[in-house]
Symmetry: C2
Subunit: 424 residues, 2 copies
């Protein structure tokens, strides 16, 4: 593949002062039928196409700082030791876009691809719009947009042998999994999060357009949390089963948080230092039968109240669960099959950092479960193994999609996403 | 059909002080395997299911007025001469859910169905949660939720002959239409709009559950505008082509606005007085080729600037377009094929009230075009006929879905949605 198109993109990205329109077909060529495949010749006969107004460049003030209220102009820096979108506050809207590498995308092409992605991420998240952005007005209000990039096993292999961490592979299978290819795997992940779906739609489209000569789309999942401004401040999100979801989660403020999620290997996968391992699971909910269960039954299933997520052993949401508590009959207050009991681990090395979102589309509802950790085999898998073996909640949830990605380390201004991988 | 299920729902809705859980299977019956089809017997052997905590009723304080910031607690009254969600401010999120009547749903069943819908609409939009709501916590923050109900031709026929307005039928076909059954037609429309997708997901689910013994799902479309708090205040929405979309729209403040959208027939369709006619068109955008066109070309296609939606003949967004203006070569500044010229009508009886939303899912992007009017044949069709015949924008947009609904008149507290139709 000669990659003419992406060389152009790259040129636009690199060229200082390049005209924003330089990547597009010339309007006149288009209107005179010069652009193949657009086919407006028939219309042309009607004339009047020649009254060209003064050219209005794409870069003309689209990102002027706004002084109005609201959060549209808010941007989160994409630069840092770690990528944005992992420990930054969860956004209201999320889109996972997974791609498969084209066969001809070699290491040199990956270099170009990551250079392009880096420029797009910098432009889109800052609201300045990348140079080649065809609708800069749609990029002007990033609404706390973050774009987080991960790589699958095949991409790491494409760079060269011996770089892959052991966990960068499909997860071991679980008894109850009903995985579909439609929502699983992938070589490249572009994870977009923002408080506005328009910002995500536009950013996803720009990146997609710019990397299409290297990859083809594999799967997409869109999710949401309660939107910004609608949530009760200080509350943990609720999933579509009505449960408070995500209460037990290590805080970035905890002193050993680094050892929970940030890769720190010094071995053959040292390129990943500062990155993380992401597990994404699409968990379908069977709401029709779930809603047949009365509230006490649903609360026993979880081990927490529905009203505020407090443990059935008392207190409020963040009170520690007393797994030893017995009721007046001497039976455990938190049943042996309760989700919280099965998910609970006394081993601190099994902690994961969760970041879920609801999905509800195409007649299916559920949770896009996502967790970050150093090593899914050590951290996520033992937890999921316990849930897979016994968890009453399994009657109403089914894992239908699964993917594992190495989330690239962060990058500074002037650096490039994926540089350590490609340099290794 | 005996409609046992919906009679139950109805009973719950009607019974003063009915226990919220009364419609659900008893937890103990479930845990002892009494509920068919749930199949948790295997788990049961593990015991410990009997430590029932104090019952926590569904109605327990879910809708307590919140005193925090944000708009989560905002509710829009569903009562009035007209239904909410038509001229109320457009929400960030929208979901159209169209249903087909089951063959056995007769007029008496429709009475019951509309009684149930009325209760659901009242409860869900107020944040109080309907009595049978299984996750009242998800209903507690309606975020300006509106639920607007419309009926298709088959439903009106089911009530009895001779009640149907002439326009309540599939639209006449247009040359360029590529309509798919997947997004067209329908007997009942439930249109949900809110500033929070969680409020919509929950409300859609509750209504769906409650009316499933009368109807089956036909199609669903989800859309969005820039989210509340992200938009630049006072700006008109942008579609995914980057255009300011919806500038020319009659305002409810105009003195003849009533004659644009509210039905006022005194004939056989007098039951619709205070209602409206809704046309929904799913318009796919070909963004790949659209983005090949440079900005002047795209602006000529529309007749407006991309930066702020001002006419190419000058001024700002809301300046009237000067269709007679010529450039220095004597050619029209607004080309003969420009979208704005073709959409423009000098006949005030052709006005429509638009209310669009973007969609971007399943690899397809576009606009869910919606317009309200007294009579689509008189108002929407001539406009669409002109666009169908000639509009350069057609190179990049295709109508792939179409539906027409009679939007029911509003209702007061104590009244029922659809009462005039069913009484006629």
């Amino acid at each position: 593949m000669t990659n003419t198109a992406d060389t152009n993109v790259e040129a636009v990205h690199k060229a200082a002062g390049a005209k924003p329109g330089s990547r597009r077909f010339d309007r006149r060529a288009l209107l005179t039928g010069g652009a193949a495949g657009v086919g407006i010749g028939a219309v042309l006969g009607l004339g009047a196409a020649l009254g060209v107004p003064a050219l209005q460049g794409a870069g003309e003030d689209p990102a002027a700082a706004s002084t109005d209220d609201g959060f549209g102009a808010e941007s989160i820096s994409c630069h840092g030791t770690h990528q944005a979108g992992i420990v930054t506050p969860p956004a209201a809207h999320v889109r996972y876009v997974a791609y498969t590498l084209l066969p001809e995308t070699d290491k040199a092409a990956l270099q170009r691809m990551f250079r392009i992605i880096t420029g797009d991420v910098e432009g889109l998240t800052s609201g300045a719009a990348p140079l080649a952005d065809s609708e800069p007005e749609l990029a002007a209000r990033p609404s706390a947009l973050t774009i987080t990039v991960g790589v699958g096993p095949a991409l790491v292999d494409r760079v060269g042998a011996g770089r892959k961490p052991e966990w960068l592979a499909p997860l071991p299978s679980f008894e109850r999994d009903k995985l579909s290819e439609i929502h699983g795997g992938g070589d490249l992940l572009v994870l977009l999060q923002a408080d506005d779906p328009l910002a995500i739609a536009h950013a996803a489209r720009m990146i997609d357009r710019d990397i299409r000569s290297f990859v083809k789309p594999h799967w997409t999942q869109q999710g949401f949390r309660q939107t910004r401004g609608a949530e009760k401040p200080g509350t943990t999100m609720r999933n579509l089963m009505g449960q408070v979801d995500g209460t037990v989660n290590p805080s970035p403020k905890e002193k050993d948080f680094s050892s929970v999620i940030w890769a720190e290997s010094t071995g053959s996968d040292a390129w990943l230092a500062g990155g993380s391992a992401l597990v994404v699971r699409r968990i379908r909910m069977e709401l029709d039968t779930w809603e047949m269960v009365d509230r006490p039954g649903r609360e026993q299933t979880i081990g927490r109240t529905l009203s505020d997520g407090a443990p059935l052993t008392g207190g409020s949401e963040h009170t520690a669960i007393d797994f030893d508590a017995k009721d007046s009959k001497g039976l455990p207050v938190i049943p042996s099959f309760a989700h919280t009991r099965r998910a609970h681990s006394t081993d601190p090395s099994e902690r994961i950092f969760r970041r879920g979102a609801n999905y509800d589309e195409g007649g299916e509802s559920g949770l896009i479960f996502a967790c970050y950790q150093q090593d899914p085999l050590r951290q996520f898998v033992p937890i999921q193994r316990r849930l897979d073996e016994l968890d009453l909640l399994n009657e109403w949830v089914t894992h239908v999609g699964s993917a594992v990605f190495a989330i690239l380390p962060g990058f500074k201004q002037g650096e490039q996403l994926g540089a350590s991988l490609l340099a290794s």
